[in-house]
């Protein structure tokens, strides 16, 4: 049973990353109509920024948790201002191609300087060790990742669904021209939205740094799984992305316990099944 709970925990952690990343993808897609292929590369940048902050600036994990998303978010906003904004009105596919190119550049640069091996990032002192829950041993850091991700996801949902700013955002997603006519600076909102989505990816990167090590290609394979998550959940609803992300992480964890050979493929197989039964995705409207 110990092993099962351990795999469930790993599943929940992966699920947190899926949720944070697919949430960002959904937010970006809503505003920019772009599938951000660079999301995995920016997730990786988040982890690297945390690594640099610690090793070059002596800035600890807690500050990195705040600073890395901001730094990568600003980088993302520069990308949006200099490149992505020129794609307005073009076929969606160009957004995918452009961000794929950006991902190749970012990953290539990091691979040149850091190779493909992982760099260690220590767990902060306050989160070291573990506690005995009676039925299992819970490493504190892992529990922290799950709870903190959940809080961030809920906060993002609250921001978009329940606040005035979120209302503007949803309105601009539906009809940007009309919202502009009301005096809202929509282009700036688009830039900030991209920054927000990218910041969420970077945050996931910082969270994963002590668990998975910091590697240039850490986001390359992850983003493909997240794409499958997005296809399963649909990008229509924020809460849908969060729930699908966590649920698929847990299913993956269970697969690791019961049938480890399929743990890499289970999300893709589920995607195929969902497509066969309900082609629009679990929460999605017809695209």
């Amino acid at each position: 049973m110990q092993a099962l709970y351990a795999q469930l925990l790993v599943g929940l952690i992966n699920g947190s990353f899926y949720a944070l990343l697919s949430l960002g993808l959904a937010v970006i897609f809503g505003m920019l109509n772009i599938i951000n292929f660079a999301h995995g590369a920016l997730y990786m940048m988040g982890a690297f920024v945390a690594y640099f902050l610690l090793n070059l600036g002596g800035i600890n994990y807690w500050w990195a948790l705040l600073l890395a998303p901001i730094i990568v978010g600003i980088f993302g906003m520069i990308l949006e201002r200099t490149m992505l904004q020129w794609l307005t009105g073009l076929d969606h596919l160009y957004g995918l191609l452009l961000t794929f190119g950006i991902a190749l550049i970012v990953q290539g640069v990091f691979q040149n300087y850091f190779g493909s091996s992982g760099l260690p990032y220590a767990i902060p002192d306050q989160l070291k060790g573990g506690m005995n829950l009676g039925f299992m041993f819970l490493p504190v850091y892992r529990g922290w990742v799950v709870i903190f991700s959940l809080v961030v996801c809920i906060a993002t949902w609250f921001l978009i669904e329940k606040t005035r700013l979120g209302a503007y955002l949803r309105a601009a997603t539906e009809n940007p021209t009309l919202v502009r006519a009301f005096g809202v600076n929509v282009p700036r909102m688009i830039t900030l939205t991209y920054g927000l989505g990218v910041g969420l990816a970077a945050l996931a990167g910082v969270l994963s740094a002590p668990i998975n090590q910091v590697r240039p290609l850490m986001g390359a394979d992850l983003i493909i799984v997240v794409f499958a998550v997005v296809v399963i959940g649909g990008m229509g609803s924020i809460m849908g992305s969060i729930i699908t992300g966590f649920a698929l992480g847990v299913i993956e964890g269970l697969t690791k316990y019961f049938y480890p050979e399929a743990s890499n493929t289970v999300v893709f197989v589920l995607m195929v099944l969902v497509l066969l039964v309900k082609p629009t995705g679990l929460t999605g409207r017809a695209a």
Binding site: Y94, L97, G101, Q107, Q111, F227, A228, T280
Partner: protein, 322 residues
Amino acid sequence: MTALTDDTLPATPRSIRDEMIVFVVMALLLASVPFTGVYPFFVMQALCFALLACAFNLLIGYGGLLSFGHAMFLGTAGYCSAHALKVWALPPELGILVGVAGAFVLSLITGYISIRRQGIYFSMITLALSQLLYFIYLQAPFTHGEDGIQGIPQGRMFGLFDLTKPTVLYYVVLVGFLAGFLLIFRIINSPFGEVLKAIRENEPRAISLGYRTDQYKFLAFVLSGTLAGFAGALKVFVAQNASLTDVHWSMSGEVVLMTLVGGLGTVFGPVVGAFVIIAMQQYLAGFGQWVTVIQGSIFVICVLTFRRGVIGEIAHYFRRSL
């Protein structure tokens, strides 16, 4: 949705004549390669990728469907052919047939799944499916995992042509490429191809005219996947191995890049793009991961400033269809 190509010229007898002339010139140039001292291995490799890119272009350029998983057909056909040649010791022509059949079956399955969603979702689904296949091949015993299938015998084509001789192999690959290219050319200019273009330009209108667009897209997907498999089967004879590299997503990305550089939706663009990208990899091989950075930069530059691609720009300038 704005179309991928901004100036589509109707297929007139003149445009088809233009394209045939260019085709003959291209065939003659390629046929003369062994006499020029150009390294034939390089050209053969480029020809395989050119055919792959042409097959991919059939889907995006004429059907408007961006597949981000075309490496799965290349790799699957490669593994099937390699297995048939090495383990079953089949002659080359049957080895190719096995590879093409493998890609055909795969395209039936993946097409049935992926055609259910459109646009951006279609790209993500094809990418996810190819990743699924990548993991399957990583674990399946017959692919030999990380090592791949190596040392594949080339044998004698139809018992006549000794494929171990580079020149003979070159002409066999060239004939294969030209046949595949002509088939795609024929498909594009057929009534089927015209319907495909109509779907690309305006799918709701095509539906309202009574076309069952899903069936057209499915058929285009199967044709494209099978032809990509043909390229993969030919590539086995050139590279003499079949490995996981051919199924990896980065390979799918390269195919997209080749077609984008040459020109989406142009007849000859993918061929030019394939030669450009393969040559670039050849000359920049010593620069390590900078090749990835350069490829990424080409993506960015092409999308931002050069969406018609090399051939597309030329065709646009002369107001011809190429």
